[in-house]
Symmetry: C2
Subunit: 243 residues, 2 copies
């Protein structure tokens, strides 16, 4: 293992699990954010380091692929590394493994931008020295472009509340995932598991926003979803269930 890959352990205590006894995808998402946070902080480009530059990291895309979703009942070890750095975006990958045994249970890929805290616009990553931390490791997850879901579908209303807000005062990136997963009924989760979840964050959700949540089936066990505000999507997602 090279020393630029971060390795962190996560619990799957019963009080954290869903009704199937599995770690919910939003909680796994929080674990990925935690791994990213600790890893970046350890190399000097974490939240506090960015705050000194009046910037903040925001996640722009996230795709998670699970080969063994049924094993999200066990304690996990998550590996994370910087896979690529561009001027505006940096790509971070994750490998999700079983803490005992070490088998790979899935992978994830994410895209991050640093935005100016005042203007909310991306800042250049050039001066951060991120390129020194790029690691060559396989991460067999690719981004696609989720198709629009809002045409010809009825949206479910969702109002952004206090508990939905993150430290920047915007809809928490994990809450987008939770709201989209809640578009599927319990029968879906009783019989199937999410094997792939991809989300693109397009705009920031704000307190009191009256959102509409849309979903549309695109193939057997495959769906596209959109979170819309005043007719424009602020997030698109693609969900694939096990057959």
């Amino acid at each position: 293992m090279d020393n630029r890959t971060g390795i962190y352990e996560y619990r799957t205590d019963s009080y954290l699990l869903d009704f199937r006894g599995q770690l919910p995808l939003p909680t796994l998402g929080n674990y990925l954010l935690h791994a990213a946070t600790v890893h970046a902080g350890g190399f000097g480009f974490g939240f506090d380091d960015m705050a000194e530059r009046k910037a903040a990291w925001v996640v722009s895309k996230l795709a998670i692929e699970l080969t063994s979703p049924g094993r999200l009942t066990e304690p996990l070890r998550i590996l994370t590394w910087v896979q690529q750095v561009e001027r505006i975006f940096t790509f971070r990958c994750f490998e999700i493994t079983a803490l005992h045994g070490g088998e790979t249970l899935g992978y994830a890929r994410s895209v991050w931008a640093a935005i100016d805290r005042e203007t909310r616009r991306p800042v250049s990553l050039d001066g951060l020295g991120l390129a020194d931390f790029v690691t060559e490791r396989a991460c067999p997850v690719a981004f696609t472009s989720p198709e629009p879901a809002e045409k010809d579908t009825q949206g479910i209303p969702y109002t952004v509340k206090y508990s939905d807000l993150d430290v920047n005062g915007h809809l928490n990136s994990i809450k987008y995932i939770e709201a989209i997963l809640d578009l599927f009924d319990i029968e879906t989760y009783r019989t199937r598991s999410v094997v792939r979840f991809e989300i693109a964050y397009q705009a920031e959700g704000r307190y009191g926003m009256q959102l509409l949540l849309h979903k549309k089936q695109t193939a057997e066990n495959e769906y596209t979803a959109a979170i819309c505000n005043e007719g424009k999507s602020i997030s698109r997602a693609k969900i694939k269930f096990s057959s």
Copy 2:
């Protein structure tokens, strides 16, 4: 420190914080549940031990008092101990301290019952040997009886969704807290902090239940809340804000 008190450390990473940069009360509640889980497991009466007896712990009441809510920005150390054991109920207390410095930031008191997984009825705690773990430590939090909030108030509809369910398939005890806190608008949180939160769990919320959330002001900065299903409360709470 006696060896029957559990001591655990918790993070307050930025991605966990609310728009004020403070740890949200539901997340603090999750930390308390985590401390309780690890502590009970270490003494042989944890989730898995109860599962072998075809039983599960359920929290019946929880009261949290914060003397320094503004310091829920720092890493925490939570102490927990068994304060009393009765035939059906056991009382567990918590002290919430700053990890660096060690100052007490608040206390919490909880009541737990073990229920049979099939009948959902409480089972006797007599054979568990819990009394051996009782510890004498001060916990200056007392339970009160939250007054009904549903009379003469308009309820806000809330439907129990997939992400609200715990491992037993019921409305997650932390989600009750989140739903009640979301009854207050952002202006409340901008200017005040919760200094006391007490909740009594009366009945289990189930998937698809159409709940009504009520809140009623009882004094300056004090409120009572109720979660109702078909006209009957399944939970009552009392919330006090800083002035």
